[in-house]
């Protein structure tokens, strides 16, 4: 029986419940970027967003036993991150003594559009995304097709195998080969990241 993404997360959660932190670490690696983006939408400060997501993961690990497995782990950690971010704003507003209304009511929070005042982050993200897309485009046709059907269309290996008319094992190998190339490109990007930034910064 194949393990779906939701089941995979639940499997990791079960291991985390049994005290296996390393399983939890894989969930952190998987969802950290998305959650930082979420927290950033609230606080508009990257450092604070990172802190809040760190807190959220710590809270979730400490209360992992209370996670009911009828929802997905991502939904749960997302909710924790949103609440942590809101609580931060409440406490910050109190501290700043600019509280004019009852902000404990959720509807008083308006999620404003992300400030585009983080050019460095945007530069990093777009560069990395470009590198990933370039790597994808540079793949052989078969590999590229398999990976595209998987990542953009969300097809299962079996469905991809039907579409491209090849065994499931071949699909699995092709997707892996594509990811291997992307993995190398990301590693190269990280290596050269510092020097590239130095050249760009005035």
């Amino acid at each position: 029986m194949k393990v779906s993404n939701k089941d995979l997360d639940l499997g990791l959660v079960k291991r985390a419940k049994a005290g296996d932190y390393q399983a939890f670490d894989l969930l952190v690696l998987k969802y950290q970027s998305r959650l930082i983006s979420t927290a950033f939408k609230f606080v508009k400060d990257l450092q604070i967003a990172e802190d809040l997501v760190q807190d959220s993961f710590i809270k979730s690990f400490k209360s992992i036993d209370s996670f009911r497995e009828d929802s997905t782990f991502y939904t749960w950690i997302y909710r924790i991150t949103v609440n942590t971010s809101k609580n931060y704003l409440v406490s910050k507003k109190r501290k700043d003594e600019i509280l004019q209304t009852d902000i404990s009511k959720e509807e008083n929070f308006i999620i404003e559009p992300i400030d585009k005042d983080t050019p460095e982050n945007l530069f990093h993200a777009s560069q990395l995304r470009n590198i990933i897309i370039e790597s994808l485009n540079g793949l052989g046709e078969d590999t590229k097709t398999a990976l595209t059907l998987r990542e953009f269309d969300g097809l299962s290996y079996e469905q991809i195998a039907e579409v491209v008319n090849c065994p499931v094992g071949t699909v699995r190998s092709r997707i892996f080969r594509g990811r291997e190339v992307i993995d190398e490109a990301i590693k190269e990007y990280r290596k050269g990241n510092q020097s590239s930034l130095a050249e760009i910064k005035p």
Binding site: Y21, V53, I58, I114, H124, A125, I132, K187
Partner: protein
């Protein structure tokens, strides 16, 4: 190298939820214990995030270390550490073997013969600490009148004494001759040598008592030593 590729292919399938339950269980511990696999796992999800979400602007941020430190967990990421942990079973076997050899060797070595110094020291300790302390001390320092121990605390071969009805105190120590530098020799210190079958020892007496009394104590110490030799 081939194993590495096979593992990474499985990690790739795992990230898509396309791995059997049995394989999943096996591979999870591999990912966690191998930083290269862990990074591959991270990069797969980074790639997915980049392709799925065009607005994602924090692709290359990694707070996993901070989370693990926040929870007092230690992550294995340093490639040097990988080398050290590459063959953990071998380390355990070597450690076990070493421990086993140590036990065997230790069991073959005859128990050390208690030295004169140890015996003498213990006698002094016993003399001071035991209920019969005063009596033993009186015997050891006969001719000096009644002595009381000034302090019960003494470090093995060193004992402090006080003469009743006066504020005079003195110190007696006993060391193997090679440890003679441990004796704080001052002008008022009197020393004597005790020869035993276990070697030569130095007895010293210092304090604000007369030289005559110090000599008497040294003689008594010699006598005491002969009794226990």
């Amino acid at each position: 190298m081939i194993k590495n590729k096979i593992m990474k292919e499985k990690i790739s399938a795992l990230a898509d939820g396309e791995l059997s339950d049995f394989e999943t269980r096996r591979i999870l511990s591999e990912i966690s214990s191998n930083p290269e696999y862990r990074e591959f796992w991270k990069n797969i999800h980074q790639g997915k995030e980049a392709l799925e979400n065009e607005e994602s602007e924090f692709l290359d941020i990694d707070i996993s270390n901070r989370v693990s430190f926040g929870l007092d967990k230690v992550q294995l990421k340093d490639p040097e550490q990988i080398k050290k942990h590459k063959y953990p079973q071998a380390s355990y076997i070597l450690a076990s073997l070493f421990g086993f050899c140590a036990v065997i060797i230790y069991s073959l070595i005859p128990p050390p013969i208690e030295s004169f110094s140890d015996i003498a020291s213990q006698r002094i300790v016993d003399a001071i600490d035991s209920p019969q302390g005063i009596e033993v001390l009186n015997n050891s320092v006969s001719g000096l009148g009644i002595l009381q121990d000034f302090k019960s605390n003494q470090k093995g071969t060193l004992a402090n004494y006080r003469v009743p009805n006066s504020n005079k105190t003195f110190k007696v120590s006993l060391y193997p001759i090679k440890e003679v530098n441990k004796i704080g020799v001052g002008e008022a210190t009197r020393i004597s040598y005790i020869k035993s079958k276990n070697g030569t020892y130095v007895v010293s007496v210092s304090g604000n008592i007369s030289t005559e009394k110090k000599n008497q104590i040294l003689q008594n110490a010699n006598f005491f030593a002969e009794k226990i030799n």
